[in-house]
């Protein structure tokens, strides 16, 4: 196990290094001049060049990259060119909101998604099954901004149960979490259903039935425990991407989360911010994936990492 973890850790570092090169190249290659943006439309060329020198943007790319890498290794994610605020400070302020939102929607999504998937599999080809499939399909295919606006209109604007937008604690996150979980519910329910259907046909399920195990225990401990592995992978992926921020949901609900921040930085060509935030997201994503892999071995004793 330890050897395995070490191996994974090294490959995690490799991934991050790769991401850092990619992000660096991308932000420097796309057209658009951050200095022109900071200095405004009508700054003279001399002023622009002076600023570039000051920010080190006149250096060769390779020098800039190693500079960036060196600072990153020391834990310095950079400072925004636009606001003068460090990327780390922004992340510390914004990530908790994104994190809470991701947790709530993943919990809601997994519980409901797995439950619906199991029910659909057990009641295969019944009306209930069809309804669940339909619901999942709607969850997957309805655009996020539409669901968000619909929920706002009904539960915030008409009924007034929740604030329309902004962040003022838990209640502000209910509608966004529901919005995001609808997509997860759809995906997770479908995955659980098909995985369960495979398992239900296995011999050991028939054996369990023959030896008279109660149907609930049959479904959950014999069935679901075997069917859950691909679902866990899916939940992990969903969680990872939610942690990178849900841009549309954050925008519609005016939540100051990390996704919104990243998009804003990209549109302003705020090079250090984009680099810092993307690397941070990549880090979170890989760590979540690693955790999920470790979780497998607890759920399914057949999986052992040596």
């Amino acid at each position: 196990m330890q050897k395995y973890l070490l191996k994974r850790f090294v490959s995690l570092l490799g991934t991050l290094l790769g991401v850092s090169i990619l992000v660096f190249l991308m932000v420097h290659m796309i057209p658009g001049d951050p200095v022109r943006y900071i200095m405004g439309e009508y700054a003279t060329d001399e002023a622009i060049n002076a600023m570039k020198v000051q920010l080190g943007l006149d250096q060769p790319l390779i020098v800039q990259y190693f500079d960036f890498l060196a600072r990153f290794i020391q834990g310095d994610l950079g400072t925004s060119l636009m606001t003068g605020i460090t990327v780390w400070e922004e992340i510390v302020n914004r990530f908790p909101i994104t994190f809470q939102l991701a947790c709530y929607s993943v919990i809601l999504g997994s519980v409901l998604g797995v439950l619906m998937g199991v029910i659909a599999a057990v009641k295969q080809n019944t009306l209930l099954d069809r309804f669940i499939i339909m619901f999942s399909l709607i969850g997957i295919s309805a655009p996020g901004f539409w669901i968000a606006l619909f929920l706002i209109w009904v539960f915030a604007y008409k009924l007034g149960w929740f604030p329309i937008s902004g962040y003022e604690g838990f209640f502000s996150l209910v509608l966004p979490a529901v919005t995001l979980s609808l997509l997860s519910i759809g995906n997770i329910a479908r995955m659980t259903r098909s995985s369960m259907l495979d398992v239900i046909k296995q011999d050991y399920m028939r054996t369990a039935e023959a030896k008279g195990a109660p149907s609930l225990s049959r479904v959950f401990s014999h069935g679901l425990q075997n069917a859950i592995i691909p679902v866990i992978t899916l939940i992990g992926i969903q969680f990872g991407s939610l942690l990178a921020g849900a841009v549309i949901t954050e925008t519609v609900f005016a939540l100051p989360g990390i996704g919104n921040f990243a998009i804003e930085a990209i549109s302003k060509r705020d090079i250090p911010t984009v680099q810092g935030v993307v690397l941070f997201m990549a880090m979170i994503y890989t760590v979540v994936n690693l955790t999920i892999d470790i979780v497998y071995s607890f759920v399914d004793p057949r999986i052992r990492y040596e």
Binding site: G32, Y37, E264, S267
Partner: protein, 536 residues
Amino acid sequence: MKETFHGLKKAFSLLVTCSVILAGCSSAGQPQTKSQDGQGVAGKGGTLVIAAPMEPDTLDTQLSTWVDDANMRMYDNLLARDASGKIVPHLAEKYSVSEDGKVWTFNLRKDVKYHSGEPMTAEHIKKSIERFVAISPNKSLIGPLVKVEAPDPYTVKITMSEPYAPFLSTVSDFMGALDPTRLDKLGDKFGDDPSGTGPLIFKEKVRGASVSYKVNKEYRWSPEFAENKGEPYLDEVMFRFIKDDDTKMLEFKKGTIQVFQQVPPHFVKELESMPGVGIAKNLDIGIQYLGFNNKNPMFQDVRVRQAIAMAVDRDPIVQYAMNGLAKPVFGPLPPTIPGYSEKVENIAKEMYARDVAKSKQLLAEAGWTDTNGDGILDKDGKPFSPELLVAGEPVLQQIAQILQSQLKEVGIDLRINVTDLQTLRDRATKANHDMALLMYGLADPDILYLMFGKGNSRRLHYENAELEPLLVKGRQTTDVNERLQAYEAVGEFLVKESPWVPLYSKEVVTAYRDVEGFKTSTSTGIIFQDIKLIKK
């Protein structure tokens, strides 16, 4: 799409930047409003919540290229502009300029205090101006400044190396007093805890969400256009930065937001029909234009540029794309800023009223004819098919399509390329394009120097040895009437040369509810002093 839209607004930062919020306007809002059900009493206290168009990068306006109500109202400027754009006294009771136009003297009010209670003096103004010159991205707008002096506590003397007329505009948009104690303490980090002499006192900012202010109850030095000379009524003002327009609209309809700035054109009808909602429309100081890359061989011939200007019909653009919330503009300056001349506008209107036949004729004279009968003009075997760069904002894309169909009628095949604004600006700056749909604006006619002056033409790439002295005369003439004449000469020249096709100035729409005495204009910003909240 949304992002680009916001990016776009930022791009026009100068517009907004300098002028900011601040230039002439066509109409101020109606002062009287009743709450939705006609009930409720207007009174003291309460928090006014405003949905602002964009989050400022910083609250230190000397460091920002985005300056609007959300970050500038902690500060007062030496001079102000009233709703008609006229320059009026503010921190300076009066000002004068020396005979040779090089020395400006400002006599300060004596009753002005910082939020901390410390009285404001000329030394502080000197310090603020010197900081602006040292660090502001907009420092070039201050002109050829030599020195700032404070001969006594209430006099500021500013010396230029040569006359610079736009200085008055800069003074009324930027030059004010920043709290000197805070400046010493925070330096570059002044924006973290800013303070000045203005009507709003910084309370709190939540990055990505809002900025909150307390209202300065000691404020008695409003410019003359504020009606309330006594204590302000409001307790607090909060700016919220909601990016999604639909969300903003729902918040406003619910009444959780009282002021909706820069309402998108497609919401205006619905808001106008809502009881208890007031609408203020102010003509912008910026112009949307169809710009040529004047370095591109395609547009070297003035006849080609004129022909394209003649092929454009602004009415459908204003009516359909802008929902009627714009005014067609033919000349180089919008009617909202000083230097605008009706004479020039009329010449331009006459010259470039839509005329397909004449446009085709001019193009033929320039050598562009349809030799292969495909409906597209060609010359030396190449079709006339320029690329038009457009930012992602839906309204602009619509305009691009209208232009495409109008130019098609004269045989020009416009290829629309929708891109994000940063890419567009980058290509336009590098002259690596054919045409672009862009905007410019400043509360001073010196904008034309910034667009066409020597070494300045970064979007249109049009410089002209004949034009240069006219532009320089405009920026060096401090007499108002002589200056207007100078800009008439500039205008006539530009109209004839047609280095770009001006299209329109938009109406900036603000919606408000549950308030009494609400007034705003592009030149004054929201006049917080007069606003009372209506409580139900």
